[in-house]
Symmetry: C2
Subunit: 210 residues, 2 copies
């Protein structure tokens, strides 16, 4: 039986390496699809419409919001970023596991629309290690590091809203863990309603003809 794909949301601390984990997972394993976001910002050199982003105008983005074409969206500085609904739904229907890398507000909106989505929060193994990563190679000013730490404290507030906590200590192990986690999520009873119904029907039929 063809299973519907699992929608996974990957959030986590800046500096947790969630972007790298996601790219590694997609390059190593079959069956995944990365959601391509829509954005109002200008394409940078080398970026391709439909690959890095769907580049749209402010007017088009506002229309997408009004028409309910976005699963979630957010504004950073002057630009909008959002997740097109139709692409995600198509991939899930085809049995692909879709991964979204978004922030907590977006994750909450996904949960409302996909109660069975898998919400994963990525974190370094300790706060000390997070600080080390946020400090970069010692080239950042104290002010920049302080701002990043403030943001990390805010980010940590939402950890309990996620289904799972993924500790990124060693990249290879972390990518394998995420893959296992998504495979395991397919076993959840909520994702096997069709199988259970079919099993019960067949059992009843077989009992009658015995």
């Amino acid at each position: 039986m063809k299973h519907r794909g699992i929608l996974t949301v990957l959030s986590g601390f800046s500096g947790s390496g969630k972007g790298t984990i996601m790219k590694e997972l997609l390059s190593r394993r079959q069956g995944y699809a990365l959601s391509v976001s829509a954005t109002t910002r200008q394409p940078r050199e080398g970026e391709v419409h439909g690959r890095e982003y769907f580049f749209v105008s402010q007017e088009r983005f506002q229309e997408m919001i009004r028409q309910g074409e976005l699963l979630e969206y957010a504004q950073y500085v002057d630009n909008y970023y959002g997740t097109p609904r139709s692409y995600v739904l198509e991939q899930l229907e085809q049995g692909k596991d879709v991964i979204l890398e978004i922030e907590i507000q977006g994750a909450r909106k996904i949960r409302q629309q996909f109660p069975d989505a898998l919400l994963v929060f990525v974190t370094p193994p300790s706060a000390q290690e997070l600080l080390r990563r946020l400090s970069g190679r010692g080239t950042e000013t104290e002010e920049v590091i302080r701002a990043r730490m403030r943001r990390a404290v805010q980010e940590s507030e939402g950890m309990e809203d996620y289904d799972c906590i993924l500790v990124n200590d060693e990249l290879d192990a972390c990518v394998s863990q995420l893959h296992s986690l998504i495979r395991s999520w397919h076993l959840r009873t909520e994702n096997n309603g069709d199988f259970i119904r079919q099993m019960k029907e067949e059992l009843n039929q077989l009992q009658e003809i015995q």
Copy 2:
């Protein structure tokens, strides 16, 4: 950080192979503990007290029930079978993942006492395949097969009460899936409360001294 073990309940159709899956998992992988049940039945040739079962008298079993020493118990024909609480708790505290092979009523009692337990229902890939396994090598009478099918229909009623559905099509794949599933269950937010609290505290301390 030392994690507490996960308590996994394995139920499923008679003929689903759950006993074999459990034994294979324990023989292939480290970190698991099998719960040893208490029973009032007589030991059979070769059975060792504390290995296959804790063999106890009717009086002692009744006392265990009264004293709350059992996580769950059930009666089959004239004999009682139950899961000693203290052994399971010790293993979990030591970080071992404990597996119980019990029926639906027992699984429900475990859920009440361990909301974070992992409840897994094992099933063959189809009702036809279940019937084939229940029919044995053609040596069973029609009456026996009918009784087994009736029982399977009853067993199927409880499937939705489990967290996950594990399809036993090919033994090796199935054992790997169960192992991945239990490893993944460790990532659940509910099982990482200590880690999250510690992370938040450390982040706040680091922010203050920055």
